[in-house]
Each structure stands twice: as structure tokens, then as C-alpha cells.
Symmetry: C2
Subunit: 534 residues, 2 copies
């Protein structure tokens, strides 16, 4: 542990005190437990710097916490997670997808240079303990491309649900962690134009519709469209990514700020920026325009209609929207000329889904967030990336120049499943939905001493009949404790075993909610319960 000076120590001690006061106040106010947890995590971090924990004066080697930016999932959280993942997986399966899994870490060379300058800094490395240099995966797309290249596989429709790692600044209340789940669906293969793209949009639409967490918008754009706009505005080609990353913020920041950034920080000619504005703000400035109005506008615009890239992009998007119609995609899919996305590897259509308004009353969330608002950000994003697999094949075979024969066209979508978990948690909290954390159907209880083995034998009979059953691991439990457990866990039935009943060859079956009780013969118990449990 690093030594800290006396002044630093006092400063940190004071911060711990302030945090402690805040936590007490939040608890008194019955604030959102997630906020309390976050404050607590911060306090523990500070305490760790002091090398102490808890009330004791004695210094301790470690603090009981998870690493920064990570979390445990308790049974309640897991229960929500399972619901969300099952819903998403079912939709992937309805579309005929297979699944694969790849290791949590990859050879470092595989990840290098795939995530731009910013992304590269956020990769978690494994320590060099002899042997290969490895890093934790940053997303599931690059490992998927490595998998295809390594196995010389040229087509697959697959999903993958797994954790990825980014050394980013965490904002737990917004669902932003350093370890988080991603949930990807991708179609690889040489197929006809826009058909796989529209299936990806369909899947985003279906997932968000079924989750029922709020109104949403699937914003769609095309890399070639942005490149074309760049050309006709006379923007410097080598500043493409740099400018795009500013424009991409248009849904969060006013244009004036973006313009200032472009002119003053990124040194883009003001005339160019003004020209760009006209195109990228077209939707924002014409809220009544439908996506077809927008597309037509660009088709009819003199400058745009002459640019080959824009023409290709507009034609592809038009075709995709036609296909979307056939697939029954909702009107939430829109054309957004300012959407740019950060990643380097996209080559065609790109898209992003955001939640506009929650379907449930939101608890006010105070965020320590530089943006100063509680927006949950994008919940799904993706696009076409035709060159990534080829990059691996070229590099592995030592090609100096990219060979397009190595390309495996891909298009996919990645769900920000962690944010979807957070929204679902908020929904359940808001609606006060009772949460089951196990699936027990029957609890075997007793009011008397010495009936342990009888309870065990009944459990055995029920388990053999695939009835989910449990009992308390005590010789002489109190009946009240047992019934209380049933109510706490929302277990629908209790079987009550007593001496009198055993002599008569029966047990009592109790409906936990109505408290109605009936005697049932031993040998009829499994069948009776099965009927009750349908």
C-alpha cells in the first residue's frame, strides 16, 4: 500500500466523514438503494486508501468489497437478469441463431488497434507472469471476428452473451460498470443487400417491444452517407473520425457547443462546419419530416444527389426501410443524419437504439455525472463491418496489403444489457412487483419434534416427481418460522407433517396465500400437488 502524508490522510478522513453523513441522510430519506450502495462503495474506496475499514482502530490489510466498477448480483438482481436474458435469448432463437463462447481473455495482439485511440487505453491487461501477453476482451465483436478467421468460417448467424471489460470511469447508478454483460447477435456471410441488416433492426425492435420499459427510437445512418457529406462540405478526410465523434453528441449537446468544439478545439474551418450543420441537423430542425421525407430531401438536394457515396447510402437505407416494413418493424426505426458512432470498424449501415421515455414512474436519480442528467444512453447499437475478419486473415497470412478475397461481410447488434437490467430493476421497484428468487413450489414443514426423517422422505418423493421442494435443516423447527419463510419466498404450498397425520397415513397440504388446509393421503401427495401446481 502506498504511503500517504498526514495532510492527505486528514483530507481523506474528512471525505469519509462527509460520505458517511450523506449515506445516513439518504437512508433516512429511504433513497434508491443503488445510490446508497454507490456512496458506500466510494466511502470504502476512500477507507481503503487509509488502510482501514469499519469502526476498529486497528489497521487491516483488506477491505471487503468488489474491485472498482464491478458488482455482485444478489438473488434479486439475478432473478431480473435471468428474465431479461431469457427474453432476449428466446428472440435470438426465434430467428434461428446458434451460440458460441470465447475465452474471457485474448492474445493482446488480437485486440490491439481495434478500438481507436480512446478504446485502446481502456483495455484491461493480464500481468506478464511468463508466457503469452493477454488482455481481457473489450467487446464480443473482435473475438467473434477472430473466431471466424481462425476457423476459416465464412457464414454463421450467432449470438453470444458474456461479460466484457473496460477500464472506464464507472457510473453505477446509470448502469455503467467496468465489468458488464454484452449480448450480441451477428450475421456473417455473403448475402444480398440489406436483408441481414433489416433482420438486425427487427430484432432490436422486438427486444425493446417485449421488454416494455418505455418508448424508444432506433436511429439509423450509413457510414458512406457521412463520408459523402464530408466530401461535399470540403471537410478534411483525415479528420473524419475526429469530427464524427463531435457530431455524434448532437443528441446530448446543443449545436453551438459542438460547433465551438469543432472550430476551436479541432480547428475545422468555420465555413465547413456551417455547411455540415445544414445536413446533420436536418432531422432536428424538421421534426415533422418522416424518414422518407428526409431521404427524399437528400435525393433531391443538388449537391447530395451528385455524390456517389450519398447516393449509395440513401438507396441502401431506402431498401432497408422497405424490408423493415415487410418484417413489421415499428415506426420507431428512423433515419438520423447526425448518428456517427465511435468505433473504427463499421463500413455500412450503423444504428443505435435509445429509450425516450420510461413506461413506469421514475424515481428521481441524483447522478454525479458530468452530463448532469439521468439519461440511460443507448441500449443497443451496431452496424455493418465487412473488413474485420479479413484484417485478421490478412495479418495472419502476413499480407502487406488488404486482400478483399479474405473479407467476410458481417452485420450485427450489441445490446447494452446492463442498462436494460438497470431499467428493469427500476421498473420492478416502481411497480413494487414481488420478486421470486427461487422457484420452490412446496415447503415441507412440521409442528412437532422428531419428524426430520419423515420430512426428508417426503422431499425425496417430491424431488423424484420433479416437484421443487425444500425443508428447513433443523431437527425441531418452529412452525411459525417455517410458514413465515413460505410467505417471504412466495412459496405457494406447504405440506405439514404431524404425528397424528402419519398414523393415519396422511399429510396436510396448505395453500400459503389462502391458508386453506386439506388432508391428502401419502401415496397421492405427488399427484395432488402436480394438479394444484398447474
Amino acid at each position: 500500500m502506498k504511503e500517504i502524508s498526514k495532510e492527505e490522510r486528514e483530507l481523506i478522513e474528512n471525505e469519509v466523514k462527509v460520505l458517511g453523513d450523506e449515506i445516513r441522510a439518504l437512508k433516512a430519506d429511504k433513497a434508491d438503494p443503488n445510490i446508497v450502495k454507490e456512496k458506500l462503495a466510494k466511502m470504502l474506496e476512500k477507507k481503503a486508501l487509509l488502510g482501514e475499514n469499519g469502526k476498529g482502530k486497528e489497521s487491516s490489510k483488506f477491505v471487503l468489497k468488489t474491485p472498482k466498477g464491478t458488482r455482485d448480483y444478489n438473488p434479486q438482481a439475478m432473478s431480473i437478469r435471468e428474465k431479461v436474458l431469457n427474453l432476449v435469448t428466446d428472440i435470438f432463437k426465434i430467428h434461428g441463431a446458434e451460440t458460441i463462447d470465447t475465452p474471457v481473455f485474448e492474445l493482446r495482439d488480437i485486440l490491439m488497434g481495434k478500438y481507436g485511440e480512446e478504446g485502446g487505453k481502456l483495455v484491461f491487461d493480464l500481468a506478464d507472469q511468463g508466457g503469452e501477453l493477454c488482455s481481457l476482451r473489450y467487446d464480443l465483436t473482435v473475438p467473434f471476428a477472430r473466431y471466424l478467421a481462425q476457423n476459416k468460417q465464412t457464414n454463421i448467424k450467432r449470438y453470444q452473451i458474456a461479460k466484457v471489460y473496460r477500464r472506464d470511469q464507472p457510473y453505477m447508478t446509470k448502469g455503467r460498470y467496468r465489468e458488464f454483460y454484452q449480448c450480441d447477435f451477428d450475421i456473417a456471410g455473403q448475402y444480398d443487400s440489406m436483408i441481414p441488416e433489416s433482420e438486425c433492426i427487427k430484432i432490436i425492435d422486438d427486444v425493446l417491444k417485449k421488454l416494455d420499459i418505455g418508448t424508444y427510437e432506433i436511429r439509423i445512418n450509413h457510414r458512406l452517407f457521412l463520408e459523402g457529406i464530408f466530401e461535399i462540405c470540403g471537410a478534411p478526410e483525415n479528420e473524419f473520425k475526429n469530427v464524427c465523434s463531435s457530431i455524434d453528441k448532437l443528441d446530448k449537446q446543443p449545436w453551438e457547443e459542438i460547433k465551438e468544439e469543432l472550430v476551436k478545439t479541432k480547428f475545422i474551418n468555420e465555413d465547413v462546419v456551417d455547411k455540415l450543420e445544414k445536413y446533420v441537423r436536418l432531422r432536428e430542425q424538421n421534426p415533422s419530416f418522416t424518414k422518407n421525407d428526409l431521404l427524399e430531401w437528400f435525393e433531391k438536394n443538388e449537391e447530395c444527389s451528385k455524390n456517389e457515396k450519398i447516393k449509395t447510402a440513401i438507396n441502401e437505407m431506402k431498401l432497408m426501410f422497405e424490408y423493415n416494413e415487410c418484417f413489421g418493424v415499428s415506426p420507431s426505426a428512423v433515419f438520423e443524419p447526425s448518428l456517427a458512432r465511435g468505433l473504427d470498424y463499421y463500413t455500412g449501415v450503423i444504428y443505435e437504439a435509445i429509450i425516450l421515455e420510461n413506461s413506469f414512474p421514475t424515481i428521481a436519480v441524483k447522478c454525479d455525472d458530468e452530463e448532469g442528467n439521468a439519461r440511460i444512453g443507448s441500449v443497443a447499437a451496431g452496424g455493418r463491418y465487412d473488413k474485420l475478419v479479413g484484417m485478421f486473415l490478412n495479418a495472419a497470412s502476413g499480407e502487406k496489403k488488404a486482400k478483399s478475397k479474405n473479407d467476410v461481410p458481417c452485420v450485427g447488434v450489441s445490446f447494452g444489457i446492463e442498462r436494460l437490467f438497470t431499467l428493469m430493476e427500476m421498473k420492478y421497484m416502481a411497480l413494487k412487483t414481488p420478486m421470486r428468487t427461487n422457484e420452490t413450489q412446496v415447503f415441507i414443514a412440521t409442528a412437532q419434534k422428531g419428524l426430520l426423517k419423515e420430512r426428508m422422505r417426503i422431499c425425496k418423493d417430491l424431488w423424484e416427481n420433479n416437484i421443487k421442494a425444500e425443508m428447513i435443516y433443523k431437527n425441531n423447527p418452529k412452525l411459525l418460522t417455517q410458514l413465515q419463510y413460505c410467505e417471504d419466498k412466495f412459496i405457494p404450498y406447504a405440506v405439514i407433517v404431524g404425528q397424528r397425520e402419519i398414523e393415519q397415513g396422511v399429510v396436510k397440504v396448505r395453500n400459503v396465500v389462502t391458508r386453506e388446509e386439506n388432508d391428502v393421503k401419502f401415496e397421492q401427495l405427488p399427484d395432488t400437488l402436480k394438479k394444484l401446481l398447474i
Copy 2:
């Protein structure tokens, strides 16, 4: 990359050549693909040392592979994995378990000192990139104990299925990897003697029975029994773990070798070793003894019956076997006086399950294994650990001495699920079971050009009815290609769309196996398929 000398280079080049020849020979012999894969992985590793890959002369920065000791799961492997995990999870749920999840890495201090000297060396560390020092989890038990201590939780019945990491020498053909799944079930809480233990044994028995991969044995022993035997043999207390790790090999090595190791390498007095032999080999030397015979032998033995530790251990095991009977545990559960297990934290009953004989014809496996055999080793193991949670609580509160008020009694079992996957893969291969990698029920095909949008609309209708459907992403596909795909993927039905049929408002529904075809009206298609798919 490290520079290598010319001599080293030649040596490695030769090894690569030899491996290449071996692989060709194995392929010609149609050997087990897993062995070929392993050889291939070795060759690629060697090639990586040379800084080259593939046939090209040009040097390349990276090799297309997963890190040493890790693997991808392709859709076939995932399909088996899903079957095994669903079966195991269902059994956990039948017993009323909840589930939790913890991060893939923990603060390094949490893991330190929990896995003995050997285990400690095998922990994967994250690089120090500023901030906390972290390591990848080595098992799920220590994170579980940390979770309980951190949340001050004193009772839970939970399972957790997740990947763990060990920098061990991998033997892929035996299912031993550096990244592998563990599948743990644990009961924490202050309960009456041996009740939770027998539920753990019941779960092992149920899982192995339902997986149906072969005959098995659940070997049971008790830490106090081993400690008692140590006492009466006059073995040095501080050599307990050291001696136990030798004795534990009795199922793999003859006693003579173990004795030699104990006397010559570990400097245990020969008289002591001879005394130990009498007790730990009792079952081996009396194969006709039932578990009750063995327990009785120790109860009646003069020396043993006077030792308090042995008495406690024997009484507890007797009680557990009685409870096992009530739970209907099979006779595969046995008392094995030589079972010792490696880990430090066990305090009571310990157990381990091994596969004795596969239920399917085994393909001969040649292993580069120092043990020289293809034994799959233990597939489940566990025991009681009453002090681990308390250790965390004591340390975190800065206690110098262990306080037993902090103890949270725990007992659990961890399934070697990776080995179970390997066994299941072998079983499927041996039985030539057809493997479905997706769940598609209906394929929408066409024999004619220009019917893309009609196929899309039919897909939409079926998806809306929760029927798993797909189509090819081509405008003008060949009918044969489409039907071939159905057969390859074991898709039961194809819907064939044609111009004539569209005019009549019908489609053809084809049974892929029988090739029988029937016209079905558009509006009746979902209902007709639902009936066929029951």
C-alpha cells in the same frame, strides 16, 4: 517478442516439423479431433515463438489462436454445454436454490492465502495499470465467502455457474483448461448436524444419475477422522497437509510409491507410515466391506475408539449415511478413509465423486499425461468449511485472533463441469447422436425469383406466433440449397412459396424428413404449423 538464437530457432523449427508430421498421420488415421486440435495448438505455439504463422515467408505479428489453455466453444459444443448446464441447474432449482454472480476478478488480498502454496502460484493476476491490485478468481468458493462476509449474510442456499482461472499445465484432451466453468452449490447457515451435508450428497447423486455418463462413486471422508488417525499414529501435526496430499493419491498410485514418497521425500518415520497404512488402506484391502462394516471397524478398534476426533467423525458420517438413506441416495456413496483433498479450508465432512466406467464405448485416447492414462479424474468435490466467512470478517474488522462469533457454517459441492462436458461430448460422438445447434422449426423457402418480400412477410407472421423460423438472405436462392440447409440443421418443416401458390392464397408445407407436401391457406399457416410442431 523475445529474440531467439539460431540454435534455438533450428530446434523449434524441427519440433514444428515433427508436430506437422504427427498431425498429418493422425488425420490420415481419422483420430479423435480433440487430439488433433491439441497437437495443432502446440504447433501454433511453437510457431509463435518463431514469430511466424502459416506458409508465408513474411513474418507476422500474431497467430490466430486462443491463449494457451483456453478454448472456443463452437455451436456444437455450446449445444452440449447448454444441455449439461440446464440439467444441473434444474436439479439445483428442484432443491430450492437461488443464484448469485460475482465479478471475474477480485481484489488480490481477498484471494491470497486461501489455496495453499501450490494453488497460490496458479492465480492469474491482472496487470497493475494504476488503482487496485486484482486477480482472476481461482474458484467460486472464496468469492462466495467474501460475498457473505461483505453483505453480513448468514444463511443462503445458492448455486453459481461461472468461469474460473488457473495457470496450470493444461491437458485439453482430459478436459483440463486454464479457463474453465465451475458449477457450485452451497448451503450457508447455522443448521443441525449433517442435514445440509446429506442434501449435497443427494445433489451429486442426482446429477450423475441424470447425466447417465457411467457408473460412479461418491467417496466420503472427514477431516477430523484424518486428524484423529494422525494423532494415534504419532504423526507430526505440522506435516498434516503434506502427508494428506500423498495419501490422497492412493486411488491413482500403489501404496509402495506413496510410502516411498512419505519416507524418503517427506521424511516421515517409517513406523508412523506403516501405522497409517493400516487405517487408510482399510477399504482398499477389504473390498467386501460395506460402508457400515468400515465404520463399525473403526468404532470397535481399540485405539480409534478412544480418540475423540475419530469418534466425532464416525458418528457424524453414520448420521449422514442414515439421512442419505431417507433422501434415497444410491449405494454409490461410500466411506473412503484415504480421501484427503487438497484445499486448506475444509473443517468437516469432505467428498469427491469419480466416474468408474463410462456408459458408452470409449474411443482410445492417447494422452501426453505424466500419469500415462486417460482417467477423467474427479467430476465433483466439496465439503464443509465453517471458518472461511469468519476469516474475512475477522480480517476486515482488524481482529488479531479468530472470533468464532463471526463464523458462518458452510457446506457445498463444486462440479467439474468442464469434465462433464468432455464426457458428454465423447458420449454423443460414440453414440453418433445428431446434434442440433439451433432450434429453427420452419424454414421459408422458394423455388422462384422475386419472392423475397413474400418470404419476409411469412417469417414475420411466424415470429409473431412464436414459431422459430428463418429464410436465406438472398433474392434468388436455389431450392436445393435451401432444402439441403434444412436437412443439415435438422429443421423439421419447410414452407415453400411460389407464384402459383400466392395467386391461390396458399403455401406448401413440406415435412423435411418424409418429404410429404401439403397446401395450406395463408391465414391458416401459423395454426397449422403449431399443430404439426407439438
